[in-house]
């Protein structure tokens, strides 16, 4: 460090002395050099800027194409019958995707009933009961270690391939009750939801000003009530966006459903039996060698994308209106 400083100082001294003697010369030399390079540098800058813009356009084109194709091909098959009827015999081009819509609603609904409370409560723990401050005592250190472990494991869970989560649903529930079932699907999907909701809840609760908690304490209100009726109530829009985000994420999940709810062409019968779902139906239809099946696939895709876009849009409207920043893409 010291040596460096001395060295620098020395250099500065030298350059100062030199520049004092021959300051005009140096400036001229610099100007000459820089004018030579300026045009090249400007061109580089232009090229890079253009490339960046091309990349942006390159990312948007697929989105445009996807939306266009889904709408164009999907609208052709959409009808009341398509939305409400069970599929006809394979390749016949009759029937609809009624069971798939119903199954998606049931499975996603059940997953949300399991995942949302657990995710919210675990987010409350991370934000309110295990602040990530500098821990001093042994107990505090243990708490912060526990909380950091949970944060890390939440991240690990978020990164798990959904097909692995499907395997978990299969081994724990399908094998146990010896039947593909809604429960297994909902359990698997809830595993995907929990870390998302937990993280968004933690982040939004942390944004609630501490002065509100203090006001609560100064009135002698118990911590659980402060947390539920003051802190959580203040952050409810943020928490809601987290829940919607998680729902929109699982609504399109396919892989874990293959090994849990299996898919069927019948309407829902029981929670311990197989059920259909939109993404699963799209996959099955796309894999069939019939034009009519592909057309139905586009129709199902349109229904699914509408569901998800409505969820996403409502999420953004809530978030925008309340100034909540949700990093939807990263979770």
């Amino acid at each position: 460090m010291n040596n460096d400083n001395e060295h620098k100082e020395g250099q500065e001294k030298i350059s100062k002395e030199k520049s004092l003697n021959t300051s005009i010369n140096y400036r001229q030399v610099f100007d000459d050099i820089s004018s030579k390079y300026t045009s090249r540098r400007r061109i580089t800058n232009k090229v890079v800027s253009i490339v960046a813009i091309v990349f942006v356009i390159g990312a948007i084109i697929p989105l445009g194409s996807i939306l266009l194709e889904v709408i164009k091909n999907g609208i052709a098959v959409i009808s009341i019958q398509f939305l409400t009827q069970p599929p006809g015999s394979i390749g016949s081009g009759s029937g609809g995707i009624g069971p798939a819509i119903q199954g998606t609603l049931i499975t996603v609904g059940l997953a949300s009933l399991i995942g949302a409370p657990i995710g919210i409560l675990s987010g409350i723990y991370l934000s309110e009961y295990a602040p990530a401050g500098s821990a001093k005592g042994g107990r505090e250190r243990a708490i912060s270690f526990f909380a950091n472990t949970i944060r890390l494991f939440n991240d690990v869970l978020t990164g798990l391939p959904s097909i692995v989560i499907g395997i978990v649903g299969y081994v724990t529930i399908v094998l146990a009750i010896n039947s593909f079932s809604v429960w297994a699907g909902a359990f698997a999907l809830s595993i995907i939801m929990i870390p998302i909701i937990s993280r968004v809840t933690e982040e939004t609760l942390k944004l609630v000003p501490n002065s509100l908690r203090e006001a609560g304490y100064s009135l002698g209100i118990s911590k659980s009530k402060i947390t539920l009726f003051i802190v959580l109530k203040n952050a409810k829009d943020g928490v809601l966006t987290g829940v919607i985000l998680a729902i929109s994420r699982i609504a399109g999940e396919t892989a874990p459903l293959i090994m849990t709810i299996l898919g069927t062409s019948l309407f829902f019968t029981s929670l311990t039996g197989p059920v259909d779902a939109l993404p699963l139906r799209i996959w099955r239809l796309a894999s069939q060698p019939y034009e009519s099946a592909h057309a139905f696939g586009w129709g199902a895709a349109l229904v699914l994308i509408l569901m998800i876009l409505i969820l996403s849009a409502s999420l953004r409207i809530i978030a925008r209106g309340r100034g909540i920043k949700v990093r939807t893409e990263t979770i």
């Binding site: 942006v56 675990s122 798990l160 978990v168 299969y170 939807t328 893409e329």
Partner: protein
């Protein structure tokens, strides 16, 4: 001041305090119960991880005892015929790494370019609607990417990219020397790239935005252009964050199932090892999805779960590394705590 109406109502005071006296135990129990509840739900995450590891472990125990871990990971056969059963994961490991590698090679430079545009070039009037569009891209389910890729994109890529590449480079470089079909490891890689661009570019954008303005100003004050500023001041400062974002995108690509299942060509056994860019192949997850419901024996099912175990291991490593790198850069906002 209407102090005239103020009078101490001792009655009220007693009533209020009587609510609190003797209530302490109940309040304490309520607090304790709630505390226990939130700890319990938080610990549920740990339980899930244990369940994941145990169930994948149990499910794959049979195949690992049949083939041995090393044997399974290095084997190339996939034969479910009774009496001649042999299962190896190597072709699918290679297929996974290759398709995800292509996605990384194409997706990361594009993502960083997009992030550069959003963070350094575009005025906020333009960058926030653009960010919105890119977030929408993230909201599209992968099965719909797959559907689009299967029925639309694969013809485009075959006619406009693969065939010209094959015609020009094929005769000279073996890696390009296979008549393209549109359903191959290259197509899968490109569509995976499109799929990971939203994630990688938005984290990269956040990483770049987290670079303090003083860094930029220092570069601008020396007369640097926008690109030079990014190169001198922004990229080096956010290096680990950008690297983390890329690895995270890689992890996404490695774990992706449905889209790959529809477009990678679904080869089996030694044939699934991609020898050229346009080879049909198979990834770990796509084989699981394809065969899970058709598995004819417990051993085959166990082999499929074994593929899941390999995938689990792979993604866990990738994700932990990536998260550690990103969290170094972009910290959770600490809020209003003093």
């Amino acid at each position: 001041m209407t102090s005239g109406s103020v009078h101490i109502n001792t009655d009220i005071k007693e009533k209020v305090s009587s609510f609190l006296v003797g209530d302490r135990k109940r309040r304490k129990i309520g607090d304790k119960l709630f505390h226990g509840l939130v700890i319990g739900t938080a610990a549920y995450t740990l339980l899930i991880i244990v369940i994941v590891v145990v169930s994948v472990g149990l499910g794959s125990a049979k195949i690992f005892s049949y083939e041995g871990f090393i044997g399974f990971v290095t084997g190339t056969n996939w034969n479910a015929v009774e009496g001649r059963e042999s299962y190896g994961a190597l072709p699918y490991i290679i297929g996974t790494l290759m398709s995800s590698g292509i996605a990384l090679l194409i997706g990361v430079p594009m993502s960083i370019g997009i992030a550069f545009f959003l963070s350094e070039m575009a005025p906020s009037r333009l960058s926030s609607p653009l960010s919105f569009v890119i977030e929408l891209l993230a909201a599209v389910p992968s099965i719909i990417y797959g559907l689009w890729a299967l029925f639309v994109f694969r013809f485009l890529i075959k006619d406009w990219i693969e065939t010209p590449l094959y015609n020009t480079l094929g005769p000279y470089i073996p890696f390009f020397n296979q008549a393209p079909f549109g359903l191959d490891v290259f197509t899968a890689g490109i569509v995976l790239a499109i799929m990971i661009i939203p994630i990688v570019s938005s984290i990269s954008r956040d990483v770049m935005r987290a670079v303090p303005n003083t860094q930029r100003e220092a570069a601008y004050s020396l007369g640097a252009t926008r690109w030079e500023t990014a190169r001198i001041a922004v990229f080096p400062y956010g290096k680990s964050g950008l690297l983390g974002a890329s690895i995270l995108g890689f992890g996404r690509a490695v774990g992706e199932t449905m889209l790959v299942t529809l477009i990678i060509g679904n080869a089996i056994g030694p044939a699934a090892i991609p020898t050229t860019l346009f080879s049909q192949s198979q990834t770990l997850s796509s084989l699981i999805a394809n065969e899970f419901n058709e598995a004819s024996s417990d051993l085959q099912l166990s082999a499929l779960i074994g593929l899941g175990a390999v995938l689990l291991l792979l993604t866990m490593i990738i994700n932990v590394v990536a998260r550690l790198m990103v969290s170094k850069m972009v910290k959770v906002s600490p809020g209003d705590r003093e």
